[in-house]
Amino acid sequence: MLKKTLELLFNIDRRWLFLLLALSIFIPIVRPLGLPNKNISADVRHVYEKMNSLPPGSFILLSLDYDPSTRPELHPQAMALVRQAFERNLRVGVVTFIPGSTGLIDEVFSTLSKQYNKVYGKDYVIFPYEPNIVAVLTQMASNLYGIYDKDKYGNEAASLPVMKGITNYKDMGLVVDVTGTSSIDIWVQYAGDKYNVPLAAGVTAISQPSYGPYLQTGQLKGLIGGMKGAADYETLLNAPGKGTSGIDALNLAHILVVVLIVFSNLGLFLVKYL
């Protein structure tokens, strides 16, 4: 009897599983569980502290290389980083190496520049998309105006107040690559290692485990990973946003996956020996 029920459950139409998942994520969006996010990852804390240690007026370069396909994970990270930079009066430059990111970059800055009264050209600058990251990173080591002679809007980049005193990596306090691609490998290889640029990164949860080796060697100063990383950063900043509400919505779904794996394996075990 039990065996039959179990076998029936194994052959269940997978659309029921889909429905379960949909409900487990949708319900907490409508009614948040509100569980506190307590365990802040040390790697996230390192990014936060590095940013906090920079004196006001320092220039940081953000390489925002994510598109809508990874937006829920990476957009909150970028928002939190820019928020912190603006709060601490750091100068921000933005570059990007994937075409799909330009729209999201505009979204970040159109929201936050108003909130913090920051002026384009004086407090931050956005450079146009460039297709070949290797070529650009190599070029930026000597003189970034060789490739970014103009900003995104066609202004002479060197004449913008925000770029005063900035020629290459040596003049930057920190570079953070928020990326849904493998661009962080290239940042480490072509800029970090070769020119001793202090590098940190924000990545998707999928690629997060790949960067353990870079963290251990210090090739990366810190790492924000996935939605959890975004939530951690928002907690550190005391500015809950989409990362915090997102991680709250994932609680039930994560439990669901664990239950499904355990249940199916236990069931299989029982079917075999009953």
């Binding site: 569980l35 799909g100 190599t138 070029q139 994932l250 994560h254 996956v257």
Partner: protein, 222 residues
């Protein structure tokens, strides 16, 4: 003809390969200037590679429409989608914001491109659940290691995992996040580092083969 078709291209790959390789190690102003120029060139050349993808997509769907092949009507929507982004882009001169106002391109980005791309990837979440249920089988010690690592990560990433852990296994004195960090920082680093070194050796060998013209597959046939 052989000179133009074969020997000059091989000379190009060898010369540019060697010069960029050497420039990496030589901090002379001339090598820096060389790398600067070639990097700018490379940026332009690679942008044209995109056209290969674009033309081949257009050609496939144009042919389908012309032949009125199966589901040709859907192929029309490839062109509709393309125009739905490119026309607003031209109207807005490639800008998504004009002051604090969203331009037609900004609109098209937000409601069309963003929506389609994000949803296509979000669908994968559903397949993870059915894979977890149907294919995640713990049949060996190795699979058990994979399962334990995955389990700790899945639970450790959400607040509820730590709460449940505290209730069930708090008496052990180990926190879930501590265990999770250990797995990520120690055994997982070893696994990934082995893969990295392996790939590095492979990539260097392949690159050398390309520079010296031993690897020629990317050129296609005569």
């Amino acid at each position: 003809m052989k000179l133009i078709k074969k020997q000059i291209p091989f000379a190009i790959v060898f010369v540019f390969g060697m010069l960029t390789l050497v420039s990496y190690y030589v901090p002379h102003p001339k090598s820096v200037a060389f790398l600067d120029t070639v990097s700018q060139w490379e940026n332009i050349v690679s942008s044209f590679a995109f056209l290969l993808g674009l033309f081949s997509l257009f050609y496939t769907h144009y042919a389908k429409i012309k032949k009125k092949g199966d589901g040709w009507g859907y192929s029309l929507f490839v062109f509709v989608g393309f125009l739905a982004v490119v026309v607003p882009a031209i109207v807005s001169h490639g800008r998504q914001m004009s002051g604090s106002e969203m331009t037609p391109l900004g609109w098209s980005f937000r409601y069309i491109y963003n929506t389609l791309l994000a949803t296509m990837f979000a669908v994968l979440a559903f397949y993870i659940v059915s894979t977890a249920y149907r294919s995640f089988r713990i049949k060996s010690v190795q699979a058990m290691v994979l399962f334990v690592a995955a389990l700790i990560l899945i639970l450790g990433r959400v607040p509820i995992g730590e709460i449940l852990w505290g209730k069930a296994l708090g008496w052990t004195g180990h926190s879930l996040s501590g265990l999770m960090n250990w797995i990520v920082d120690v055994p997982s680093v070893a696994g990934k580092r082995g893969i990295m070194i392996g790939i590095a050796v492979g990539a260097v060998v392949t690159s050398l083969k390309i520079v010296f013209g031993i690897e020629r597959q990317y050129l296609g046939k005569d």
